[in-house]
Amino acid sequence: MRVNVVGAGPAGLYLAILLKKSNRRHQVRVIERNAPDATFGFGVVFSEGSLDELQRADYESYVAITESFASWNPLDVRYRGTTTRIRGNVFSGIARKELLRLLQERADELGVELEFLREVASLEPYLESDLVVGADGANSLTRRTYAEQFRPKLGAHPAKYAWFGADLAFPVFTYIFKETEWGVFQAHCYPFEAHGSTMVVLISEETWRRSGLDEMSEQESLEFTQAVFQDELGAGHRMLGNRSLWMNFPWIACESWHTGNVVILGDAAHTAHFSIGSGTKLALEDAIALARACARWKENREAALTEFEIERQPVVERLQEASRVSADYFASLQRYFTFEPLQFAYQLMTRTPRITHNNLAARDAEFVRSCETWFWSQAGGAAPDGRLVAPPPAFAPLRLREVDLANRLALAPVEDWGAHLRAGAGLVITPLVAVSAEGRIDPTTALAAELPQAPSGGAEVMVSIGHAGRRGAMRPRRQGVDLPLAVPDRWPLISASPLPYAPWTPVPEAADPARLVEPFVEAARQVRELGYRLLELDFSRGYLLASFLSPLANRRTDEYGGSLENRLRGPLAVLAAVRAEWPAELPLGVAYSASDLAPGGLTAADSLEVARRFRAAGADVLRVLTGQTVWETRPEYGRTYGAAYSDRVRNECGVPTIAFGQITTVDEVNTLVAAGRADICILDR
């Protein structure tokens, strides 16, 4: 087999080695535009799991590479003058130059033809072969040439980043978060040799402009950045540049990675954000999978390339998804700058759902134990002084005004909530209790006036009062949701605007804003008289007050429709009036849909503004829900899917939150609560 590999990065060289190894008669040529020792970037890092695959694929290069590794197990988080060390994270680093040198040597030894300083301007001269491999990096000519076949999806992350070196070895992998007058500068620093580290520096677009970096030369930018980190570097140490330009991280994903005799791998086919340190490992694993498929299918090239793609795509997709979550985290972490160092570090470690409280405890039991005791103490848990162990975060108490919840677990049953009071959760949230007969969802919906006396003992009960609006007069939900009652059984519906909820549901009348408030105040009074101590206003999921908030449901032209200010007017009037009625020592919550999950819905910025206004109007806790404000939405279910919304609301708006959405284990609750993404979590039924 004659193979042309375009690009002598880790992917191209490693593939050449493996192909040549599997069959000495293969003619493998690698074409590279740079000199053998000209490489950009400093060290590369391997994190996540083992390198067993490399050991099996080619023992010689594995030994050479791992012998040159700098490996370290703890990582440091430097934030607000404190260094927090977390153990149990295996990372290895190697100078990129060294990695390439070792691979070049091995390739040469096996008889791979290496052609350096040859620019590939067109693939044309190389196509006359059995296999053409585009290992030509994120800016791949091969991918661009066959864009129609590979159907690449390209994007750019909004944050700016640049690769630098430093003339010292940080003791371990180190995250530095530095607050400056221009914004936060983050550095991800990994030592890769005795006197050298890589520093990837990340800043927001605004920080980049505000600091003037956008107009600086490469040298000026290096000096400026060094000055920012001089304390962490230590006197006399320098940062180093090597084409250290500020860039946006490119997202690359392709529907297909092969066409005819052409195949792409590594960064040419897919990128994964550097913050999870998997790019090089993915590239090397691609090479292994491709070489193995070629060995298995021999003459049948199509089968080999198909198998390669099928094997690798799901793996790559999973990592890309995790890397997107991680990249977004690093781009938005300014919202966590009020956190104590311990919680900040915990949040950093659990930024993707792959690492939970239990996973972290397995890595560094002591760190997790100190997080638990810290969390317990600040939550007002008993005997805070000198505690060495504490119950896990899910079981820490929470005080809302003068009501104490035993723990952070909540249940939101849809039927028979009274049966859940002794299930172990500190809070039970009732299904919607209607403020009036016209406000019922269906004939079985409870009315505030008909609630039983508040139970004593067991969980605290939060009575959620609301008006179903245009989602009223439906059949009981046993059979389905939003299925209207037969015509004679219906009652008249109201909503912000006379738009039916779904095409088959009745058209409501436009609600009279002057009559919104009184039923809620009256219901609050009734709930209080029955002895309940927690009240929630349900402004979520397309019910009456939600229809005022969502631009998709509210088409009013009076002062209750149009601008966000106007759309908030109805809900805020209800909230203010109920807050005035509800005793000052008792907490009041609001449930709202933080996103309509539909085009044209509440924007992310407006959603946060809504939360801020609710807080200002006296809401003590927000139940952050998503969707259902209109009938046809695009929800994304997945593990703890609602937590991201709760996180944003809690930490951007400074209000306690209740998270909901595929939270099914106490481990998940521990993680979300300890990381400050929510104060209370509703466990799925």
Binding site: G627, E632, Y637, R639, Y641, G661, Q662, R685
Partner: protein, 266 residues
């Protein structure tokens, strides 16, 4: 977990005699349901008509579409067909609906696919309102499919794959159920393919059936259950993940396949 079996309506060489005998034999061997698939632009028998035939020669197996491409059918007519099959089978129909995966089926049917999701939601609501006793399931992979199954149906039909894939989908189906505020829990149906003793023909059929997915076809073909051990492991895997009913579809149109499957499961 109950185990059902697919009818040979899209495998090459299906005959009327085989269909009838297959349905009878499956029921005799203890399979609890008979499943059909739906494709327009493919050599495939119309699913509701096939189920009507099966209804006539069976007495207790449930008759399930996995899935029927709902938006291709006008809702009133579909409701009538469903009512007919339900009547002929004395209430054994389980109507699984989805938007399908292929544009060519829409083109051939003259249906605009651009709002097929909304159409399916509306259709499900109409069917449910028209007859609350009709069992409805929804299939499909995205968030909207899970949402539809929770809002308008009795459960979710998974599209196939290893037990791990089913587990992920089942978790989402349950989450959607919770999100929608439905009491109770969704019924969860799974499916797989088998060819016992004739792996080559089975793989050839799957490659052809899934040709429209490109390289994915090879993957489906490779996952075909071709040994009794593979069948056992697959069934156990689905059971462990909380599947209520697993329907195994044949990839070879031979009655002997049924006997071998029953033996593997014995």
């Amino acid at each position: 977990m109950r185990v059902g079996v697919g009818l040979p309506t899209s495998t090459p060489g299906a005959t009327p005699e085989l269909l009838v005998e297959w349905a009878r034999t499956a029921e005799r061997l203890g399979f609890t349901s008979l499943g059909v698939v739906d494709r327009v632009v493919y050599d495939c028998w119309e699913p509701m008509l096939a189920l009507a035939s099966a209804a006539a020669v069976t007495g207790h197996a449930r008759l399930v579409t996995m899935i029927l491409i709902g938006p291709l059918r006008e809702t009133a007519v579909l409701a009538q067909q469903a009512a007919t099959v339900a009547a002929l089978s004395r209430g054994r129909l389980v109507l699984g609906l989805g938007i399908g995966a292929r544009h060519d089926d829409y083109q051939a049917s003259g249906v605009d696919p651009s709002h097929r999701g909304r159409d399916l939601s509306a259709q499900l609501a109409q069917l449910r309102m028209g007859d609350e006793t009709l069992s409805l399931l929804v299939g499909g992979a995205g968030g909207p499919a899970f949402m539809r199954s929770a809002r308008y149906a009795d459960g979710y039909v998974h599209g196939g794959g290893p037990p791990r894939a089913f587990a992920g989908a089942a978790a989402r189906a349950r989450a959607a159920w919770c999100d929608a505020g439905r009491p109770g829990a969704p019924q969860l149906w799974g499916q797989g393919y088998f060819a016992l003793g004739d792996a080559e023909r089975g793989a050839a059929y799957l490659r052809s059936y899934y040709e429209f997915t490109g390289p994915f076809a090879e993957k489906v073909a490779a996952a075909n259950l071709v040994t009794p051990q593979a069948v056992k492991d697959f069934v156990r895997g689905y059971e462990e993940e909380g599947c209520d009913e697993l329907v195994l579809f044949p990839t070879v149109s031979e009655l002997a396949q049924l006997e071998r499957l029953a033996e593997a499961l014995a």
